[in-house]
Subunit: 598 residues, 2 copies
């Protein structure tokens, strides 16, 4: 017998006093006070206090059986709490429900960890009992935000005449970039499907078909070695538009982000977002995804110090490297010990050779750690270039390019976090544009596409494509939020010749291009519109919006760093008959391992 | 250079006369009339006629290059058409656009088939050039309906406080029912993920977690031998609710269907929908998914004829079979030839042994095909039982149960189609309930769950579970629309003991149950709410709503009946290195086949 609830557990207030109600939920806590049993009843909406008095003997006796996490239904009457018992932190804190009838739907054993926010629990235990971890109110709230996020996204695109189209999950393996997850075919012996790393080719084909505004929230897959913030399956908002240029995609994106922030965390952001070229981002922040919630932009001292007697500076510049600095406000009197520890950390974490500094404080004036090698006017000029004032600290790295930029970029983030320079409540969006089209891989002796092989080259740089491909800018763009890359896209190639040329540049010969992407090249024969698009990482954006630091807190059933689900023990061994059907065998060592384990 | 359109191709009317506009699209048709070039410009919204006059020589010359399916942008001025040229079938039929500037974005070769509705084209060619097939206005319209369908569904659930939660695609293989698609793990040698046949266990775990209203539109996978209306990947609306019984799920479903029909095809349907038990459906229509858009309910003559001298009737009934009939209105004078052909068809398609009939017409009166074996009063009683009137035809089958019911069910559908008894504009919903919990498989010598192993038995039949499991009704329900099963679900077991008992009944021993479903049984230890749910087949519902007969017309990139995508040639062979990474080998015969092909 299931009772239909009249209210959920975050709904009743003093306005309901005297009403007869029915509630369903979990026993969150239970207290016996002088024969009166108080229970906090929990559902996903909140908590309501219910009370069993001794006067009803049978009911009270039944209530005595109740333990934490029992699932129950109750009938009762809403009563005002006494002044002294009002709990202002709960919506329902002004009332309690005097129980008149009780139904126990399900008993519960003692849970392996307490169902509460912020209780420290071993990560493995949490993943194994994920269904209990998902009872924690903070994770439940994340799931609510995530659900709102989906609806907000879809409403936006739907209202802007985008069509939602589903693309296949069982598709063709086109190894490029990350490793594919493969699916053996039973009907076609020896052949395999791949799970999509992105629906890239399909969304371009939809443009060729004439669906000029496409979106989809879609699962994608990458069989990579997992880092802390990667999952083998992830969700992206996938978008493509025809007859557009960069500005159209950006404008559409800005509208989406404004709506998303409004709908999920009630924040207003202004558009258009700032834009910065890749070159500028690297030179100013040492990264292509700068956190622009704080300053500490780079100063370039290379020109100032290239002729100095300090050999580390001059020889670095001579060899084509750079001498760069950032100014940390208010740290001009940093103690020697602190600087030593910082130096060590910088060396360990960034790989920089050493840390040079200029301290500016009232006691010592301007003090440079290598002042005996530098002229006073050089130090003064550096302070000037760094825009440093009395009380500030200038941190300086010298080294080869582009490493030194990246190293200083990391140091900048350390300083931002260490000295609370980051406004944690801010949402700072930034477009990064004009990426190089390709980069050269010394290991593989070939060019790689920085975005992907379908990204259009910048029309102004087209003539460099043959001779100086690394100088060619692409029509790609990334969207950065608070230092996270949350989206990326490009205007695509829609011309068969140019696409063929691009494949050649990337070392994909004609035959291979035909085999892997022939259907796309073929499609371009029959009238392809100019088009472009973008994709956004849902997991990461929701993580930022919920103020979290782990993707696992915004995914209902995540995998661990070995791509395993500890809850249901997947992946797992399967029957030999299943493999026979798929025309495959395990390799001997894998077979032996299975036999040992079973 | 891409021009930003001012309007799409179904937007301009005489109200825009004189406006300067920009349009983008495909050349659908092109006519040269006395030096004036008329082009129907097409985009996914519609068609606009554009005109190039000879007066602008350069422009006209450029326009002469244009061929069908070229992608172009134009600037021009909206002009009223002359009375004689108005096309009332197009929104834009009152105007044309006099072109002042032309940009050719992309040329096009002659397409392998014409881009038009209803042009007969070989199915293989259509699938190979799917991106061109998707240019047909009728398929584009299907995709628009499908997109609206998604938004309508999600709005409904969102407005009813359901949370959308994504469940994993890489999950555990739990072979039961259909074959799993498997995904080899690279990180865990010898182990495999499976793609979900449905997120059944996950949605139940979400209930255990306290998310009391869950929905998701989700891809599912079955590696089955494909029939005409099956695809290896399909989309379902997946729903689960806590603290509910059958009525709650049905009421929620009825609201969804009402909204869906209103939003996509502007139809009103009344709720609650009719309900029928499985037993009644089988006895009345010979199927558990009756098409209730027309009558022809079964009459059961078994009692009337069990003692008749006609041996086929009496011995059939004696052996536990049945003698059943349907009354086809207005066919009482069916000719001998027609009946003979029908008999042959019934024998071939349904496997029935023969067809007996009673014709009622003014010329012959009541005429039974086996009247010499039957007493007149028996025939009269049968006519009476069949509710047949003068002019009607009673068709009769005799045979073993349940085969004869199914055979007559098929015959009923044939008659409905043949004699236009079906109202093609009607949407007839029907709930089928009280299914048997299990059925016995003679081949496997074990019971199978009719829905799935998590479906709760009917509480009234619980005591039969051990001794007469086939007599136990389940708490499952199917939703039928116009004779298609479009959804199915059940109230679930939420008790560990009962679930264990159920696994035992299905021949899944303790160890195996633990290995496959241990995490669910474990979850039930910690407080599981009563819960139930349902899932709907998106592809099939959209097919019905768009009036189609093939799932391929409502799926953007479908597979053929061999589970292949002819467009991108997937599945396909992969590199040996990819298999090495996954710790698998092809079996020898598959390897040889690959070598032969490559």
């Amino acid at each position: 017998m299931t009772w239909k609830r009249s209210h959920h557990c975050s709904e009743l207030t003093t306005e309901n006093t005297g009403e007869e109600v029915i509630l369903n939920g979990w026993v969150a806590t239970r207290r016996d006070l002088g024969g009166v049993i108080f229970i906090d009843l929990r559902d996903r909406y909140g908590i309501t206090q219910i009370v069993f008095y001794e006067t009803d003997k049978n009911l009270h006796k039944k209530a005595e059986q109740l333990r934490t996490e029992y699932v129950i239904g109750i009938k009762g009457v809403v009563e005002k709490r006494g002044e002294e018992n009002i709990n202002d932190e709960l919506t329902t804190g002004g009332i309690e429900v005097r129980v008149t009838d009780l139904e126990i739907y399900s008993e519960a054993e003692t849970t392996p960890f307490e169902i509460k926010e912020g209780i420290p629990t071993n990560e493995e235990t949490r993943l194994k009992y994920r269904y209990l971890d998902l009872r924690r109110p903070d994770i439940q709230e994340n799931m609510v935000v995530r659900s709102d996020f989906y609806q907000s996204t879809r409403a936006y695109f739907h209202n802007n005449e985008f069509l939602e189209v589903e693309t296949p999950v069982l598709m063709k393996s086109t190894p490029e970039g990350a490793r594919d997850y493969l699916v053996p075919s039973r009907v076609s012996p020896g052949k395999f499907f791949a799970l999509p790393q992105s629906p890239q080719t399909y969304k371009q084909l939809l443009m060729v078909s004439g669906f000029d505004r496409y979106f989809q929230i879609v699962k994608c897959f990458r069989d990579e070695d997992l880092r802390a913030d990667r999952q083998p399956e992830f969700t992206q908002i996938d978008v493509e538009m025809s007859f557009v240029d960069e500005d159209d995609i950006m404008e559409m994106t800005e509208g989406l982000m404004q709506k998303l922030l409004k709908d999920t965390v009630d924040e207003e952001v202004t558009a258009p977002f700032n834009r910065m070229t890749y070159k500028e981002a690297m030179e100013t922040y040492g990264t292509d995804k700068p956190d622009t919630r704080f300053g500490l932009e780079f100063a370039d001292f290379s020109e100032l110090v290239k002729d100095s007697e300090f050999n580390i500076f001059s020889s670095t510049v001579e060899k084509g490297g750079a001498v760069l600095g950032i100014t940390v406000p208010g740290q001009g009197d940093m103690g020697r010990g602190v600087i030593d520890r910082l130096t060590e950390r910088v060396q360990n974490e960034t790989g920089a050779a050493g840390l040079i500094y200029i301290k500016l404080n009232e006691d010592d004036g301007v003090k440079c750690s290598v002042e005996k090698f530098l002229k006073d006017e050089t130090v003064d000029a550096m302070v000037d270039e760094a825009d440093a004032d009395m009380g500030d600290l200038v941190l300086i790295l010298a080294g080869a390019s582009p490493d030194v930029y990246k190293q200083l970029g990391q140091l900048r983030l350390m300083m931002g976090e260490e000295y609370n320079l980051i406004d944690e409540d801010a949402y700072e969006f930034l477009w990064v544009t004009d990426f190089p089209l390709v980069e050269y891989s010394k290991e593989e002796h070939r060019y790689h596409a920085l975005h992907h092989p379908f990204t259009a080259p910048h029309p102004e740089d087209l003539e460099e494509l043959d001779d100086n491909p690394e100088e060619v800018r692409s029509r790609g763009y990334d969207l950065v939020l608070n230092g996270y890359e949350i989206g990326g896209g490009s205007i695509r190639i829609h011309d068969r010749e140019l696409q063929t040329q691009m494949f050649e540049l990337l070392g994909i010969d004609k035959e291979e291009a035909q085999k892997r992407f022939g259907f796309l090249l073929e499609a371009f024969r029959y009238g392809a519109p100019p088009h472009g698009g973008i994709a956004f990482g849902v997991d990461r954006i929701v993580m930022i919006l919920t103020g979290g630091t782990s993707l696992r807190d915004v995914i209902a059933f995540p995998k661990n760093q070995k791509a395993q689900s500890l809850m249901d023990n997947s992946p797992d061994y399967v029957d030999k008959e299943q493999l026979d059907d798929l025309h495959i065998n395990l390799k001997e060592y894998a077979k032996e391992e299975q036999q040992e384990q079973e």
